[in-house]
């Protein structure tokens, strides 16, 4: 489950998205995965419901979110989606708002999620320069060039 290859091959990348609020931002990511057939539509509902109950539990750092629910929340296949927003949106966490980069995570089981998926998300986002380039990317080619530089 290679994050960068996966994003490119599945076309699970949406850049400079117009999202009116946090729900729309989350949906931009899950919609791509529903279309790719890797999650059921209810995975989105799970994330929204969990967020309303627990708060935005998937914010990693200022500007960065990793929306996900549990594997039994409707994951068909391990997958990721990358969304960047034209205008950042608030998730209701003053420490990290506003958010403009989201990596949606869907893992079929806890082991995959723990040992592979999250490691790759953290590795990708563990670099200020990479984050700035993701933020500035306008086209799929910008992302391809960035990922090639990283490999």
């Amino acid at each position: 489950m290679n994050l960068k290859e996966h994003l490119l091959s599945r076309e699970a990348i949406a850049l400079q998205v117009d999202a009116k609020d946090w729900k729309a931002a989350v949906k931009a990511g899950t919609d791509m995965l529903v279309k790719a057939g890797t999650i059921e539509p209810r995975y989105y509902e799970e994330i929204i419901q969990n967020t309303q109950e627990l708060g935005p539990y998937y914010l990693l750092a200022p500007g960065l979110a990793m929306p996900h629910a549990r594997p039994e929340g409707g994951v068909i296949e391990n997958s990721f989606a990358l969304v960047t927003l034209k205008e950042p949106v608030a998730f209701g966490d003053p420490d990290n708002d506003p958010i403009d980069i989201l990596i949606t995570l869907a893992a079929r089981d806890a082991k995959t999620q723990n040992e592979e998926a999250i490691v790759q998300v953290v590795t990708l986002l563990d670099n200020e320069e990479t984050i700035e380039k993701l933020r500035g990317a306008k086209t799929l080619d910008d992302i391809k060039i960035l990922f090639e530089e990283l490999d």
Binding site: A61, M66, N114, D126
Partner: protein
């Protein structure tokens, strides 16, 4: 050896992010430690067995309840920034487990 626990809502998301970041930090600083991760619901069980440092998102901190005097709770705003938790971990290790830092 110092025991560190990363906690999040379901034990599968941000606690793993914290665990990875802490692991990287302790390795870079030559600190010997054991790092586990779990859900908020499982945290009490872990803590009762003896945990020195609990790290979790500041949003979840109130859900942890009371902890024994041995346990330091670090409520984090930014989970990806070792400048936020690093100096605190280092300080706790230096005071309580100086032998676990190899020079």
């Amino acid at each position: 050896m110092i025991k560190i626990l990363a906690v999040c809502g379901n034990g599968m998301g941000t606690s793993l992010v914290i665990k990875l970041k802490v692991k990287k930090f302790v390795e870079a600083n030559n600190i010997k430690c054991q790092i586990d991760s779990c859900s908020l619901g499982q945290a009490k069980g872990f803590i009762s067995q003896g945990v020195d440092i609990v790290l979790l998102s500041s949003q979840l901190a109130s859900g942890l309840g009371t902890v024994p005097p041995r346990t330091h709770v670090l409520a984090l705003k930014n989970l990806m920034d070792d400048k936020e938790f690093g100096p605190k971990i280092l300080d706790i290790v230096e005071k309580n487990y100086p032998e676990d830092i190899s020079k």
